[in-house]
């Protein structure tokens, strides 16, 4: 069965990438640096400095720029090199640029589009509805298809929305304590991420309790 392939892929919980931080994520075998500037904007780049190949996820966020850990080259939010510390007075050539991917934040998650994604619709919006409370990411040793299949069977209230999205209704039995949408991240041939999103109550303490309960329930998904 051919399933419609989503262009946007969940790679991280939004709250797992605080302002001023960078980290590495893997999507379909690609090593990607995601980072969030001081203003809150998220970028997703090829995780390799064009200068000497250093992984940019080790970089330091300085305002709205990412500074490479190796030589301090600074790249602005468009990926262009804006400053080379070894040549403080000179303007870096406009040709020096980190290849970037499409990135956006929705439903409590950070999404990456490997094709760029400029202007492309966020297909998963409807599936999430009012789900926007990111609870927990867990990582398992499995390819995506068998994992989705296993979850569908293991979770009695599970419903597969697309090849990488599942909805699981709350239940007293095996189900989660809250209605969840689970976004699957196809990392490599033998590794997947699961990003669990519940509905926010609007009250901070209630949300905290929901996150804890979901995280506790989610341990079973690892095995």
């Amino acid at each position: 069965m051919t399933q419609h392939k989503l262009e946007w892929h969940a790679v991280s919980g939004g709250s797992d990438l605080p302002a001023g931080s960078a980290r590495a994520v893997t999507l379909q075998g690609q090593d990607i640096a995601i980072w969030r500037g001081a203003s809150g904007a998220v970028q997703a780049w090829r995780n390799q400095c064009p200068h000497r190949g250093m992984r940019l996820s080790f970089g330091q966020v300085r305002g709205e720029r990412l500074s490479c850990r190796y030589h301090g080259w600074q790249f602005d939010e468009t990926g262009h090199c804006a400053f080379m510390p070894a040549h403080r007075e000179s303007t870096p050539p406009a040709s020096i640029r980190v290849p970037s991917y499409g990135s956006m934040e929705a439903a409590g998650l950070i999404w990456v589009n490997l094709e760029g994604g400029e202007g492309s619709a966020f297909e998963s919006g409807a599936a999430f509805g009012s789900h926007d409370l990111f609870c927990k990411s867990i990582y398992v040793a499995s390819a995506l298809e068998p994992l989705a299949c296993r979850l569908r069977t293991a979770l009695p209230n599970g419903e597969q929305l697309s090849h990488s999205l599942l909805r699981v209704a709350a239940s007293q039995e095996e189900g989660p304590p809250d209605d969840l949408v689970i976004a699957l991240q196809d990392m490599t041939d033998d590794r997947c991420g699961l990003h669990l999103v519940a509905c926010s109550s609007g009250a901070e303490e209630t949300d905290r309790q929901t996150r804890l309960a979901v995280a506790r329930w989610a341990r079973r998904l690892r095995t």
């Binding site: 090593d31 995780n47 390799q48 064009p50 200068h51 000497r52 190949g53 250093m54 992984r55 080790f58 490479c68 850990r69 190796y70 030589h71 301090g72 080379m84 510390p85 070894a86 040549h87 403080r88 020096i96």
Partner: protein, 286 residues
């Protein structure tokens, strides 16, 4: 299966152990260029190195020599004798073997990083450099036609703590010598003797294409710092480099000039890559 080795890599002398770590009656099994080798020092002091098969069978005796505090061997037939370091004959300096750091990358990435000036403020922050003093002033990197060696000269950098014995920040002069692809020696202003140079040497032993044991020594005018302090200083710096080295992509050094984007501060790296290309090196590069 044994990989095919190119002449540029195989016809070199390599350090496989420090002399002090191979006392009488000891043997060390290690890897060199993807092959198994064993160095043995008999009870009478005789030193021998053998290449072994994957099953541990002896294949052949390899040439061996002991110099500069290290045991050297080769899997090929080097065209030149092992390079000379006349500083080892001079009086006044002290040799300190600074141990081995295993690094998961190619030997060429390791040597290129050793020749790099502009990373000091970012990788060795407040030790070998500090912002905002990040400017790299013009320096030279040239092939010495007579010796076939690469020399990087006229380097200067402000360093908060250039050496273990440094009492504060100083403008430090650097000269790098690259006598063979995976060995380099740094001559650096000595805090212990006005107008003189200390040596910091780095010998990469490629275990596999992208896995190395890096042997490091210091030959310094320094009567006050203990061996332990010197070793700790050097290892501390090298561990900072290791975080970089193991996270560069690709691990094999790209020799195509268009693969990565250098700036004028990378003259040493540009010339090092060109020099390796000229030798037809294929091991650990792409």
């Amino acid at each position: 299966m044994t990989m095919e080795l190119d002449a540029a890599a195989i016809d070199q002398w390599y350090v496989i152990e420090s002399s002090e770590d191979l006392p009488k009656g000891k043997a060390r099994r290690t890897r060199l260029l993807g092959r198994s080798v064993v160095a043995t020092r008999e009870a009478d002091g005789t030193l021998a190195v053998e290449e072994k098969s994957a099953e541990g069978r002896s294949l052949r005796a390899l040439p061996v020599q002991e110099r500069y505090g290290y045991v050297w061997t080769t899997l090929g037939t080097p065209a030149r004798a092992l390079f000379e370091m006349p500083e080892f004959e001079e009086n006044g300096r002290r040799l300190v073997i600074c141990g081995v750091v295993t690094v998961r990358t190619s030997p060429a990435r390791i040597v290129e990083n050793f020749l790099d000036l502009s990373h000091f403020p970012f990788v060795h922050t407040n030790v070998l450099g500090a912002e905002p003093l990040t400017e790299v002033t013009p320096y030279k990197a040239e092939l010495d036609e007579t010796s076939g060696e690469l020399w990087v000269t006229d380097c200067g950098f402000y360093q908060p703590q250039a050496m273990a014995a440094s009492s504060g920040g100083a403008q430090v002069d650097y000269t790098y010598r690259v006598p063979q692809p995976f060995s380099s020696v740094l001559y650096k202003s000595s805090p212990g003797k006005e107008g003189a140079f200390d040596l910091v040497g780095l010998f990469a032993q490629p275990l596999e294409e992208t896995l190395c044991d890096v042997h490091c020594f210091m030959l310094v005018y320094d009567e006050t710092t203990s061996d332990e302090e010197l070793i700790q200083f050097q290892q501390g710096i090298f561990l900072q480099d290791r975080i970089i080295l193991e996270n560069q992509r690709p691990s094999r050094l790209p020799l195509n000039p268009r693969a990565e984007t250098p700036s004028p501060a990378d003259t040493s790296s540009i010339q090092y890559r060109r020099w390796l290309r000229g030798q037809g090196l294929r091991f650990g590069v792409q």
